[in-house]
């Protein structure tokens, strides 16, 4: 059952960037299982990462994304399964012998060393010449826009600066893969956005493979070539940001990627679904007749129209100004709809709701309890 489920998660071949020549698989997780104190964190986990790909592991806390990264970094050993790197089995290779570097969530700069000494740490261990090391330090500091910081102490740097030094310290070793564990989690919004652009720029300039862990869906959508959505130790969906956002495979993915209206529906027949007692045309086929399904409708896809002109009617219960758009709660047919629109309508107005067939996403109900939608408090 589970095997079948994973086979269903094989990546599509028409990924973004497929016009480039096919890259080989650099990292492969094969049937990895891992548990802590008796509770299963990863269950027969399978994933591959291609060369020069920016892969993001996305999911709520406890979904197994950090464990996956720590297994790859060599800080944990799997209970079973194999990890291949460049086609070689590295499952039992200690962390210090792996050709990859990690940027930790807490920056983890050595407090008793200057910035230059921190950056030089890995290079000194691999016995590079002093001239080479000095060059590399200069180059790395320039890359992260912190020129002239060589002799500063770690304490004197802000969180954002420390994080950039942590990145510099990792990349001077020219790793084949850079692992990043929620590296921007502690930064404020503006800095986080700047760092996102810097990371993307680094990826282009250095041509290395990124494996990025985050619970921030926006971050994932912005930076990734491929997103792996995880929940409770299982992969929910693998795809490009566009795939994940526009065609979520199940209600969990839909709910986790952005705010959505997720409703119970019944697929009456091909291209017709019943939601909240209303039959609505859609574009999906092949579910059979009277099949219970999850229906996902993005808030920006719900149109507010005059009463009588919509597929259902309701009252606006709240309105929040969000800058680019207004966010409405609309009570209609016993469900509180989330609606994003630039149109202003006062509270308590009676309105109609319309959704075009193309914007109605139909999904199978979760197959097993493992994949049930969990509440995510944000």
């Amino acid at each position: 059952m589970k095997k079948a489920h994973f086979n269903g998660l094989k990546r599509k071949t028409n990924e973004k960037g497929s016009y480039k020549k096919m890259k080989k698989n650099l990292i492969e997780f094969i049937d990895i299982s891992k548990s802590y104190n008796g509770s299963l964190v990863l269950d027969e986990f399978n994933l591959y990462v291609r060369e020069n790909e920016f892969v993001t592991l996305l999911g709520p806390s406890g979904c197994g994304k950090t464990t996956t990264l720590r297994l790859l970094g060599g800080f944990e050993k799997p209970d079973s399964g194999k990890i291949l790197f460049d086609s070689k089995d590295i499952t039992n290779l200690p962390a210090n012998e792996r050709k990859l570097n990690t940027v930790f969530q807490k920056y983890s700069l050595f407090p008793h060393m200057t910035i230059a000494e921190n950056i030089a740490f890995g290079l000194k261990i691999s016995k590079k010449s002093k001239a080479y090391i000095d060059d590399k330090i200069k180059y790395a500091l320039k890359l992260v826009n912190l020129e002239g910081f060589e002799n500063r102490s770690v304490d004197s740097l802000s969180g954002g600066q420390q994080q950039r030094i942590a990145i510099a310290r990792a990349i001077v070793n020219e790793p084949k893969v850079l692992l990043l564990d929620e590296p921007l989690g502690a930064l404020d919004l503006k800095l986080r956005q700047n760092m996102q652009y810097e990371l993307m720029r680094l990826k282009e300039e250095l041509g290395i493979t990124f494996v990025y862990v985050t619970h921030d869906q926006e971050e994932a959508l912005t930076m990734s070539d491929t997103i792996v959505v995880m929940n409770q130790g299982y992969i929910q969906q693998i795809g490009t940001p566009e795939d994940i956002y526009n065609e979520p495979k199940n209600a969990f993915v839909a709910d986790f990627i952005g705010h959505s209206n997720i409703l119970d529906g019944i697929m009456i027949e091909d291209r017709l679904v019943e939601i909240l007692g209303v039959k609505m045309p859609c574009v999906d086929e092949g579910f059979g007749q009277n099949c219970p399904v999850d229906v996902v409708i993005r808030p920006e896809d719900v149109k507010l129209v005059e009463p009588g002109e919509g597929q259902m009617e309701g009252d606006i219960t709240s309105i929040i100004f969000k800058g680019v758009h207004y966010e409405y709660d609309v009570m209609a047919n016993g469900y509180e709809w989330l609606v994003h629109t630039t149109k202003y309508v006062p509270v308590n107005t009676h309105v109609g709701i319309n959704v075009t067939p193309f914007n109605i996403q139909i999904m199978h109900k979760p197959e097993s309890s493992d994949e049930e939608v969990v509440e995510i408090d944000e």
Binding site: G73, G74, F75, P94, A95, N96, E97, N101, T102, F104, K106, S108, L109, F110, P111, H112, F121, G122, I125, S126, R169, A170, N173
Partner: protein
């Protein structure tokens, strides 16, 4: 409360400092540089160059260094093991190690005397096993043993504390950057525990250099340290001027040793402040 009123709160402590630290210190300085008739002299200071006094000072330094080295060798691995233990109640284990410190110092020394005596517990035990008896009582060995026993917790605690502040992700970051366990120890753990080591050294070396009770009880009068010479001057000979002179010399040695250790790192454990 305004500032001047707040400062009043320091009053009792100020009186204490003046009455019990500053005044006695000034008195020692006065006695050190005067003769019994009150005239100025340097003889009390230069008395350290006499053969008996100098060899007592040398022995004190020797045993102090030996005791400090033994404590360091014992305490560092122990602190590492304590810190690395995967148990919930780590502080309780540390508490066990500190427990003897709560017992009276003299009482513990008397216990050691009973253990090490010619017909003491240790030798009775060895006899029943048919092993040769040990006669380390009244030797420098017994004195060093007593010193190490007494001062070991002062070495463990600051090292253990400094080790506890090393974050696990620093170790992981070092490993990630290619460091093996030896490199991690030399480049990360050792430098980050250096302040604890220095505190420990000061907290052990200074009291062992100035101790006199341990050598008196476990040395049986046969091991003469500079502390014993000073004690004899004050208590038995009523030679306050000579005793004060030697005290000043000893104090200078203490200050020199603290300045030397201070060179190697900032003291963050408050060790020097304690003595």
């Amino acid at each position: 409360m305004n500032k001047s009123k707040k400062q009043l709160l320091a009053g009792p402590y100020l009186i204490w400092i003046i009455g019990f630290i500053l005044l006695p210190l000034l008195m020692i300085v006065y006695y050190a540089f005067t003769e019994s008739d009150g005239s100025f002299t340097l003889e009390n200071i230069t008395a350290i160059t006499s053969h008996a006094n100098f060899s007592a000072l040398l022995l004190s330094l020797e045993l102090g260094v030996l005791c400090t080295v033994i404590c360091l060798v014992l305490a560092y691995p122990l602190a590492m093991i304590l810190n690395g233990m995967q148990i919930k109640n780590q502080s309780f284990v540390v508490f066990i190690f500190m427990l003897p410190m709560w017992m009276n110092f003299m009482l513990r020394l008397m216990a050691w005397k009973q253990l090490l005596a010619k017909n003491g517990v240790l030798n009775v035990f060895l006899s029943t096993l048919g092993l040769p008896n040990l006669s380390i009582m009244n030797t420098t060995m017994a004195v060093v043993l007593g010193m190490v026993y007494d001062f070991l917790p002062f070495m463990i605690l600051p090292i253990y504390n400094s080790m506890g502040r090393i974050r696990k992700d620093w170790i992981e970051a070092a490993k990630d950057l290619g460091a093996n366990n030896i490199t991690i120890f030399i480049k990360i753990i050792l430098p980050l525990t250096l302040s604890g080591v220095i505190s420990g050294i000061v907290m052990v070396f200074v009291p062992s250099l100035t101790s006199f009770a341990i050598s008196q009880i476990l040395g049986g009068g046969k091991v003469l340290l500079i502390g014993n010479v000073i004690e004899q001057d004050f208590i038995h000979g009523s030679q306050w001027h000579a005793g004060s002179g030697l005290s000043i010399v000893l104090m200078i040695f203490v200050l020199i040793s603290m300045a030397l250790t201070g060179l190697f790192g900032k003291d963050e454990e408050g060790g020097t402040a304690l003595w």
